[in-house]
Every structure is written in C-alpha cells, then in structure tokens.
C-alpha cells in the first residue's frame, strides 16, 4: 500500500475536525474523497502533508510513519499537495512556479522534459509562460498548481478540489488533463472533490467522509450503484 491512514483525528486548536478517518491508496491507483462541506476532506489532505496537527491515528507512506512530519519533509518523501485555493506563487512567473515545484530535483534534463510535457498538457500555460501567477485566470492557476506539484516528480499527487471556483467547461478541461496525466505517467493520486461526477472521471475508488469520519469506501462502480451516494453526490 502506498498510503494508509488509520483512525486519523485532527484538530485546529480546540476545534476537532477529523474524528476517525481511515483510507488507503494502492500503488498506481487514484482514490477520491467525497463529502459535503465541513466533512473534513481538506483537513484529511492537510493531515497527510503535515499542515495540521494530528494527535492520534497513523499515517503511513511507503511503509514509513509520516504523521507529524513537517510539510517540507513530507514533500521530500514524494507527496505533492496541490492545496485548496491553488497556492499560486503570485509574484513569480509560470516558469518560476514550475521550477519551484522542481526545487528538490537535481536531474536537469528530466526537469526540462517534464516542463515540455506539462506545456503540452496545458497549452494555456505555454501562452502564459512568462506571466506572473497573479495575472492568470482561475483555471490557469489551477493548471499551474497541478503543474508545480507534478514537477516535484512525486509518487503521490494530492489534489484538493481542482474544480473549485471554475466554470464547468474549465473544470472539465482541468479534469481531462488530470486523467491524461494519470494515463501517461501512472502517477498515484488522492483527489478531494465535491463534484463526484468529475471525480469519477479520474478515480478508481473513493471514500466518503461525513462529519470527520470515513463512512463508506468503494470502487467507482459500487459507489455509482449506491442510491444514497447517487442522491447525495451525483445529482440523483
């Protein structure tokens, strides 16, 4: 198992957000996290990348305990987190944002070929290559954020609501690119998404969160067949 969370709890100060979350991401697969607002989807991702305190539970990545490790160490181990709100470096150009993503890499040739791959995947970024992050549209910023995470050459790509705040057509473009990224590189993914239809276009299985607990896990097909899931997340 690439990533395994068991009975993870997490809190922001006195406010407990995660009560008991368990999930696992097998090597090479893409797993979705579904749930309503406030269910703890984003916090689950933050617990993994070390940006929120995790008082109990275990988080193992490639067999190593990563619970409580600082974000830069988690990143160095091969987890690239595209945060909610995209985390664009607003005063840096698209090119510089991508190079920041590759900060820990030493293989120059690999970096250049990955940038070329990304610019092919996201033609918008090629057009805006010299523009500052702040000058990009929401969709372009999302593409840049995914690109920056990918540039780290991670084993696991963690995406927090890539469709948030995007027009439906833009969200679809972003997901098409994510699917292609997965097909062409075989990278493992953990994707938080409120729009289950979009998530299902990429993931093999998903876990459903309710008020800080993981309540249901299943393959995409199983979840599609579940009436409750259909009503709650797939629009009937």
């Amino acid at each position: 198992m690439l990533l395994e969370l068991e009975h993870v709890a997490a809190a922001y100060g006195p406010v407990q957000v995660l009560e008991d979350v368990s999930l696992s991401v097998p090597e090479g697969s893409a797993v979705g996290i579904l749930g309503a607002n406030g269910a703890g989807k984003t916090t689950t991702l933050r617990a993994i990348s070390g940006t929120v305190r995790v008082p109990s539970g275990s988080i193992r990545f490639k067999g190593n305990d990563i619970r409580g490790k600082r974000p830069e160490l988690v990143a160095a181990l091969g987890i690239a987190h595209v945060p909610e709100g995209r985390g664009a470096l607003a005063n840096l150009t698209v090119q510089e944002n991508l190079r920041v993503g590759a900060y820990l890499r030493k293989d120059r040739a690999g970096i250049e070929s990955d940038i070329a791959f990304l610019l092919d995947l996201f033609p918008n970024l090629e057009r805006r290559y010299g523009s500052n992050g702040s000058a990009l549209s929401g969709g372009e910023q999302q593409m840049m954020a995914i690109g920056r995470a990918f540039m780290a050459k991670p084993t696991l790509l963690v995406l927090d609501e890539p469709s948030l705040g995007l027009a439906p057509s833009t969200a679809k473009t972003v997901y098409t690119a994510i699917a292609r990224l997965r097909d062409e590189t075989g990278i493992s993914m953990l994707v938080v998404e409120q729009n289950a239809n979009l998530a299902f276009s990429v993931v093999d299985s998903a876990v459903v969160l309710e008020t800080g607990r993981s309540v249901l896990t299943g393959s995409t097909a199983e979840l599609r067949g579940n009436d409750e899931i259909r009503r709650a997340y797939l629009g009937g």
Binding site: E72, A75, G87, L89, N91, L92, A149
Partner: protein
C-alpha cells in the same frame, strides 16, 4: 567655488549618502519580504558588524593595509550573515504565529540589546575605522571636486544591488527566497525548507547592512548610535519605495536622500557656503 560646482558636489555626496540609506532600506525590505515585519534592529546589527570589522582590521592593518582592511570587511560580513541567521532562528522564530506587534517590539528590544553589547565591549566613544584610503581625499573633474569616498560608496552599493538582483533572479537559492517570501505555506509543499530560507534572508540583510555600516564608519567613525538617524531615512525610503518591492527600494531612496543633503546648504540662509 561657483554655485553650480557646489551643487554638483552636493549631488555626488548626496548620492553616496543616499546609497547608504538605500542599502539599509534594502536590508529592511529583504527581512520584510521574507517575514512581513520591519526589523528596527537592522541598523544596530549593521553597526555591530562594523565594530567586528574594525577590530579585525586594527589587528591586521599594521602588517598590510589593503589586506588587513579587506579581511576585516570579509570577517565582518561573514559574522553578520551568521548573526542575522542565528537571530532569526533563535529569537524571531520564537514569535512565529504570534502578534505582528510583538515581533516588531522584539526587534526594538534587539536594537537596545545590541547597542548595549557594543557599548559594553567597545564603549561609547567615536572610534576610527581603518580603511583603504583617507576618506577626506577627493579628485577634480572639470573643476568640480568629487570625494573618493562618495564615489566608492555609491559604486559599491550599486554593485551590491546588481549582485543581489542576480542572486534573486538567477540562482536556486534566490528562487527559494522569493517563493518563501511569496507564500511560505505553499513553498513548503514543494519541499522548500522555509526556516532555512528565512535564516538566509536575515543573514543576507545583516551582511548588506554591515557593508553599509562599514562605508559609513570609514567616513564618520564608529559609534554605537551610528545608524540611529539613518534608520529613520531608510524607513522613509522603504515606505516611499513600497515595503514589498526590493527593486523599487533600491531606486527610490536616491531621491529621498538628495532632498535630505541638498536643501540645507543651498538654502538662502547658508549662502556663505
């Protein structure tokens, strides 16, 4: 001397003086960019670095003037870099996540502490700084006397700014520094060690300030309060230039500086100059 000649000389001196303000202002901005706070101890740190340079210089100058001064400067700059980094790591980091006001007050406390330490070791008297040449020297171009110190100071600061610009735009460390200044949380997700970048930022600022401190001390001698007044002008430059832009910082202080040196001697009341 005619009025125009005086004017040109004052402009030259003003540019030199102003580049010192610019250097200190830039140091303040480097820290502000990385941490979002104004370091009131920046001038005090620069003066401490200068004292270290003076002590090392005084030890070595009897054997070789140029080499002695140079080694003094190198030691001072290296020590300041280390000191700046250590202050970030062991003093300022403790205030992380706290009130902004608390951090700023902490830097004022640091200024008081550093000034006290300097006075304890070296005393309050003005001490001469051993320098490459007599800073009273000047040369004449077209009948206008230009101070050698002014020229040296101006060119040194301009060169430093170019070097810093290259550091920020052409190197990996520079990219990391800018990324952390832009969004530390997001930078950490890319594996950049934010704490280390903050230490480097503080170190660079301290080293830059020390060079300005040495140039000032070479002309005006060393005193624990050397940068107290200059800090005010540097802060003015920071505010006029925009606290978040190093490039604006380095270009605009020349203006604030010219207006400080020039008007007084040129005013009607002092026409005798």
């Amino acid at each position: 001397m005619n009025g125009f000649g005086t004017f040109v000389q004052l402009v030259a001196d003003g540019l030199a003086q102003g580049s010192l303000y610019a250097a200190l202002a830039l140091a303040i901005v480097l820290v502000n960019q990385a941490t979002g706070l104004i370091n009131f101890a920046q001038g005090g740190m620069a003066v401490l670095g200068s004292y270290i340079g003076m002590s090392v210089g005084n030890l070595l100058v009897p054997t070789n003037l140029i080499l002695g001064v140079l080694i003094g400067i190198i030691v001072a700059v290296a020590a300041s870099f280390g000191l700046g980094a250590l202050i970030e790591r062991f003093v300022m980091r403790r205030f992380q996540g706290g009130e902004e006001d608390t951090k700023v007050v902490a830097t004022i406390g640091l200024l008081t502490l550093i000034t006290g330490i300097i006075a304890l070791i070296w005393g309050y008297n003005f001490l001469p700084y051993p320098f490459f040449f007599n800073t009273g020297l000047s040369f004449t171009v077209g009948g206008i006397a230009i101070s050698l110190w002014s020229l040296t100071t101006f060119l040194t600061i301009v060169a430093l700014m170019i070097v810093l610009q290259l550091l920020f735009t052409r190197t990996k460390v520079g990219l990391g520094l800018r990324a952390v200044a832009d969004n530390p949380n997001s930078s950490a997700l890319s594996g950049i060690r934010v704490g280390r970048m903050l230490m480097i930022g503080w170190g660079l600022a301290a080293a830059l300030g020390t060079i300005a401190g040495i140039l000032l001390a070479a002309k005006a001698q060393l005193n624990p309060g050397n940068f107290d007044a200059i800090l005010v002008y540097a802060l003015a430059a920071v505010i006029i230039g925009g606290v978040d832009s190093p490039s604006a910082r380095s270009s605009r202080p020349s203006r604030s500086r010219c207006s400080r040196t020039s008007p007084a001697p040129m005013s009607p009341g002092s026409a005798t100059t």
